[in-house]
Amino acid sequence: MSLPSLSVVPIFATPFAVMELPAALPTTPVVAQLLARHAAAKLGTAPAAARLCYESRDDLLEWNEEPVRQLCSEILRGVWSTVAAVTTLTSEQLATLSMQARGWFTVIQQNGCVQAASHPLTAWCGIYCLEAPQPSAERSDSGVVRLYESRLGTMFSDATNSALRVPFNHGHSSWRAVPGQLAVFPGSLTHEIPLVRSAGPLTLITVRTRFVGPGQEGLSRW
């Protein structure tokens, strides 16, 4: 039997960008230590359970410490690169946009997690990994960022549509956070960090961003 030639393309695709930030690497350990000290000071005498996951206020992009400013600047550049790669905007058009962004950091210890959430009023979300524990042999999703399936799924399942290959398959998608890497994806995408089962902190910086064109009315405050 000869098969017809066919063209299969992914429609309704979600952009998910992962990139190394070489310029951020030298400052990453310094910032990780700084953030760990900040978290420890804020947690103070908090109960042990509360220490499993520390999430800072979303004012990280306003911090004055130079290593933090440098690192965050690289993260935001990574978001710009993603926008340039996935939109039809020319570089001239992109240059007319101004970015609005909020940022915070999260330190997740063994047995800590971040509940599923999406970010309203956000076009793009970026997650940069500063440090990560070893994967857990017992729990494959330990230390990953899990992005929830966002397409309206079919409730009809058979032997073929349940075995679709990437990128057509249904189900959640996971990114194992690697120190020095930035992941960028739509802010509307629900994501979570499942329970971390390995020892050692998972330290992440998250930014939520949106872009305002010339003459556009202001967006609501965050």
């Binding site: 599923a116 999406s118 079919t154 409730m155 959640h172 499942p194 089962r197």
Partner: protein, 216 residues
Amino acid sequence: MVGPALRLSPAFAVPILQTRRDSSEQLNRALETLFLERESDEYRNPTPSHTPQAETFESRFNLFRWPEPCIQELRRFVLDNIAQAVIQTTTVTPEELSRLKFQNHTWFHITRYAGSFVAHNHPLASWSAVYCVRAGEEVREHPQSGLLRFFDPRQGANAYLDAANEHLHPPFALRSLDLRLTAGDLVVFPSYLFHEVTPFHGADMRITVATNCWFV
């Protein structure tokens, strides 16, 4: 100023039915004893649909075929309530329902410290239900421990929020629904609805029975 009369109704609504079995202590004790006795490879689900966790035991899907009286008592309670859910939410009459063949996959979960179940739904089923045999320790420091969380199916609707849509009344609110089950509680919901069990931080265990039903 007197405005025109408004008629406000929930369109695209998701039916969630909650009930409770009165005096369920004896039944739950019998179920717990039986499940703990059978928490072994012989009774473990051999083909789990999700990556198994050591902290969560999932049984085979034939639970309601077990002949033990406690299982059959639970079967009647769960399936009767699912039948009620169908009657209350559809145009199917009790007579029509009685002519349908009521199929189910039913299993139990035993979840210990750090166990959870990733967000999922159940293709090829119409109604699902969860019965709570044992709620597990409630940990004050972890208010989100061991919750049954239903995700809002209106995905993306909360991507733009302002003062006029941020605080909608239930059932219009754009957020997930968290339920903390207690022993004897039953929740019935459409199988298409995504749901998860959040990480359990109790020192003991959380035991539930879940079922997926379809009608032929």
